[in-house]
Amino acid sequence: MLADAWLIAAKDLRLEWRSRVTLAQIAPFAVLVLVLFGFALDPDRGLLAAATPGLYWVAVLFASVLAVQRAFAVESTESSRDILLLSGVVPSGVFLGKALAISVQLLALEVLLLGGVAVFYGATLRGWLLLAVTVLSATAGIAAAGSLYGVLATGLRVRDTLVPLLMLPVLAPVLLGATRAFEAALEDTPADGWPWAGLLVLFALAYLGAGVAAYGSLLEET
């Protein structure tokens, strides 16, 4: 399973490296969202500084919708799924591979956006251990839930509009938890943030488990 996951992830990342969609389109979009928040909430009134953790994670969620759609758009033709099945890769491996590839891309985006909030919002980044655990666990949760709900909409004509409707309500607890944990880290009160990081870890594990269990059934369809 893990070897298959690695194969799929490597394939997706190679595709991304050659097409550079995340790098050239999704990353600029995420930065643009940060800048638009700056326009919406006047930087001089202190609102931006107070809202930094929430805005950061909303930007991440928006970008993750695009990343998930991209990850399944490359599998959307009927033959590519057949080839995937015929190749003998186990479905749970496909799921973990997809989630891993999405995670790697999201992590790169999140590092970029951390720089973005430091520059545009004047945020002082600290509480690095909590920040790192939050970023890793929230990303794993977003990628796992995204891979599960993303595959549900493959091949549908309304895929692009359906994926956010399916994904974002499910990811609301991640936004809540990650925002609170970030607040705690940036305010230098990490003790308040660790329980939320724990919630994020549990969410990620639950969705990784659900995806491993459900993918067999979802991929077997014609």
Binding site: L148, L156, V170, A172, G177, R180, P195, E221
Partner: protein, 273 residues
């Protein structure tokens, strides 16, 4: 609603090549409408019951000491939220059974329940906002129960959107069963996380049950009776929605059979593969 499943379509040249013998057989014996003796009797009982609830809620019960006239919203809001949660549970359970048994029956139970449940969730949210405006002076409060009910509504809309968009019936069953199965767990996670978030920031919630108000006597009876009527209404809608779904699938089968027959007649092959 009436679908004429007995209309004499072109006879299939080779019955053994029929796409799905069993389904076609069902189509012939299937009801031609969604009403039945049971639903008509239930419907009649619900009309009488609904009128009785309206009388009890508006005329017979007294206004509340604390809340005044606005307490009458309780007889709409609380039964509808009970039914909404019940429908949501039924969708999740039926989805789980579908994943084991894989029959159209459970698929349609899950989806019909979700659709009717979405209506009751919308009624819950709207009546709750009106009641909130009247009693707390605000239509919305970031409370775990309100927020998770809103998320339940959004998740149900996602479920129904996915079902509506998936044309292949087997794929539709698989995909919606996964979303349906995760429906209740997702609502619980949202509920718990919001609860935790608000309990860190707020000392008291508007939903303190201690001494808020007590319900007894005729008010209690009206509440219980309204809940029974709401459950009856849910069952009535569920049965009808289920039958509409069933007939729609049969109509689709028949359309495919007819298209096949026309093609074969054009080729004059008598249905040889």
């Amino acid at each position: 609603m009436t679908i004429d499943t007995n209309a004499g379509g072109p006879q299939h040249p080779e019955p053994s090549l029929r796409r799905d013998e069993a389904a076609a057989g069902d189509a012939r014996s299937a009801p031609t409408g969604t009403g039945s003796r049971f639903t008509r009797l239930l419907g009649l009982a619900l009309i009488i019951g609904g009128a009785a609830v309206a009388w009890l809620a508006f005329v017979a019960t007294p206004p509340d000491v604390v809340q005044g006239e606005s307490v009458r919203l309780l007889y709409v809001h609380v039964p509808s939220v009970s039914v909404a949660y019940m429908a949501c549970m039924l969708t999740t359970v039926a989805s789980a059974v579908w994943l084991r048994r894989r029959t159209e029956w459970w698929d349609l139970v899950a989806s019909s329940s979700a659709e009717v449940g979405a209506v009751f969730t919308a009624v819950t949210l709207l009546s709750g906002m009106v009641w909130g405006q009247a009693t707390w002076g605000t239509p919305w409060e970031w409370d775990a129960r309100l927020t998770s009910t809103l998320f339940l509504f959004l998740l149900l809309l996602g479920y129904l959107g996915l079902r509506g968009a998936t044309e292949d019936r087997t794929a539709r069953g698989r995909r919606s069963a996964i979303v349906g199965l995760l429906l209740v767990p997702n609502v619980i996670v949202v509920n718990q996380s919001v609860n935790w978030w608000r309990s860190l920031h707020q000392d008291a919630t508007l939903f303190r049950t201690d001494g808020d108000f007590r319900i007894e006597g005729l008010q209690l009876f009206t509440w219980v009776f309204a809940t029974v009527v709401a459950i009856g209404f849910f069952v009535w809608l569920l049965v009808h929605r289920f039958r509409v779904g069933w007939l729609a699938d049969r109509a689709e089968d028949r359309a495919i059979d007819e298209a096949l027959a026309v093609r074969r007649a054009e080729g004059g092959t008598g249905g040889a593969p």
